[in-house]
Amino acid sequence: MVKLDKDEYEALRVLSFVTFRRRPASVDKAAAFAKGSPENMAALFQRLIAKRLARKVDEGYLVTARGERAIEDNFVPDPTSIGANRQWLDANTAAWWGRFVALRNNELIAEGKDGRELRARLRSMEPHERVLIVPLIEMGSTVVKSPEELAKESDAIGQSRPRPSDGPPFASPWRKPLRARHGRSPSSRYRPRFGDPHSPSTTGVQP
């Protein structure tokens, strides 16, 4: 068992949120929660990862930003031995990762720097197919993005949304069929109004 000092313990407590629920941007927020700087948090996280890896590899060998070698056997926790399968994340969670490799049955199925690449790959998978996402920290550098970088990314998300320019009859950007949401169609055969939904003259009825 690795012994953690008080700072590491706190960092682990906070960063376990980061690693399991956060987009990369959230390292900043984790730092805010822990009342530390993002750089300190990233450094602490790296120390924690380093402790895990120290037995097998020296710094810089295993973990890189692209993480080609991160599927080395020892890096992959045995999912059967930790009980609750908590590191087996749903595919959509994977899309949150900034830097990762995605493994299924210990085979590399995707890797990426910005999450979008993985998201695209995972869209073709079954909705509940599970993969292991291993976060990668670039040793000696920081995973933290500057507020400017984050702002740029968030702008880009809004701008990159396709704005369909054709299609009748609705004169609005909302013309194209929407992607199906888990089998739901955007159009219902019934009006979402209370009262008798079959009746064309329905206006809502008091109970």
Binding site: M1, V2, L12, R13, S16, F17, T19, F20, R21, R22, R23, A25, K29, F33, L48, K51, R52, P77, I82, A84, N85, R86, Q87, W88, L89, D90, T93, A95, P127, I157, G158, Q159, R161, F170, A171, S172, P173, W174, R175, L178, R179, R181, H182, R184, P186, S187, S188, R189, Y190, R191, P192, R193, F194, P197, H198, P200, T203, G204, V205, P207
Partner: protein, 337 residues
């Protein structure tokens, strides 16, 4: 599923629905989820009235009505212009608020016309609206604050939009009976998606200190007295008012919910009993209009946290994430070992 759409509905107003929604939104955001909260109460909008302390002041307070009416007229303004930003005092997390905007009454008046022909493009505008938020912001949660009662917009909010419906219900007759009627109607409605989940929140519930003032013991004690034969079960609802109301809720709402359990339970198998029914205690700060200053240790804030946890459990990602610190720590130590 990337985004979980949750509608907060109450049959009557004044039960703390909007406060619960906003607190849950900031709690989820504070835990790293990306959250969008939308004020769909077009007839009594509330988000736009939040003080500058919580929401950054904007020159034009655009929101739902401006977005929907604008898009229908071909307005391609970026979605970001329709969001209000909470201040740092409100949340450090990723939370966007959309107020009802500047023309809620115009949108509200157009709804019957929009829904007139269910096959038309116009009838889809609410789906387009939600989809644009999903595809542009990619939030983990969209929380819709619904209109009360059986208004058209309440139908849209409860039948068409949500994956999960949070029903907030007070303890008086109007609330319990009204909500019971609503739920029966809602469950029977053909426009409802069968896998839409339901969470019931009883609010507000008198505190033990209030009960004490009336000479009434805490509900737990009533239950204990009944179990020990000290108090006849049939007399308890009369002499113990809160207990009586709970019985009414159980016999009315919970029976309806229990009977109607169906495909939504398959969809949200991670929701446990404790997730399906919540209680929010009365807190005087709510009456004073500063509910966002609730102490994290306060009972109400902890109850809102509990609802946030339930919602995170219902989220695909949250299912893996709801472990408490101790469990996460054990796991991380294992990984590090």
């Amino acid at each position: 599923m990337t985004t979980l759409r949750v509608t907060f509905y109450s049959y009557k107003g004044g039960v703390g629905r909007t406060i619960a929604l906003l607190n849950v939104a900031r709690i989820l955001a504070g835990h790293g989820f990306r959250v969008v909260a939308v004020d769909m109460d077009l007839e009594a909008p509330g988000f736009g009235l939040l003080s500058d302390k919580w929401v950054e002041r904007r020159e034009v307070n655009r929101g739902v009505s401006d977005l929907m009416l604008g898009r229908m007229a071909g307005d391609e303004r970026p979605l970001d212009e329709f969001f209000a930003r909470p201040t740092a005092a409100f949340t450090a997390g990723d939370l966007r608020l959309m107020t009802a905007g500047t023309r809620p009454e115009v949108l509200s008046a157009r709804i019957p016309e929009l829904l007139e022909d269910v096959e038309s493009e116009e009838a889809r505008v609410f789906q387009y609206f939600a989809a644009e938020i999903e595809e542009t912001v990619e939030p983990d949660f969209i929380l819709f604050d619904s209109r009360t009662g059986l208004a058209d917009i309440a139908g849209v909010c409860t039948l068409e939009l949500p994956d999960l419906l949070v029903v907030v219900c007070g303890l008086n007759d109007q609330n319990v009976k009204g909500t019971e009627g609503f739920l029966e109607r809602w469950f029977a409605h053909p426009a409802r998606y069968e896998d839409t989940g339901v969470i019931l929140c009883i609010s507000p519930v008198p505190r033990d200190v209030d009960l004490e003032r009336w000479g009434e013991p805490p509900v737990e004690q009533t239950v204990k007295e009944i179990a020990e034969g000290l108090l006849p079960r049939e007399r308890a609802p009369k002499s113990r008012r809160l207990f009586g109301r709970y019985v009414q809720v159980q016999e009315g709402l919970l029976v309806v919910l229990g009977d109607k359990r169906g495909s939504w339970q398959l969809r949200f198998p991670e929701l446990l009993g404790e997730d399906l029914v919540h209680a929010f205690h009365y807190d005087p700060l709510m009456a004073l209009g500063e509910p966002f200053e609730l102490s994290p240790e306060s009972l109400l804030y902890r109850e809102h946290r509990r609802l946030a946890r339930s919602l995170s459990r219902a989220h695909d990602a949250g299912r893996e994430l709801e472990a408490d610190d101790a469990v996460r720590l054990r796991f991380m130590e294992h990984v590090l070992a």
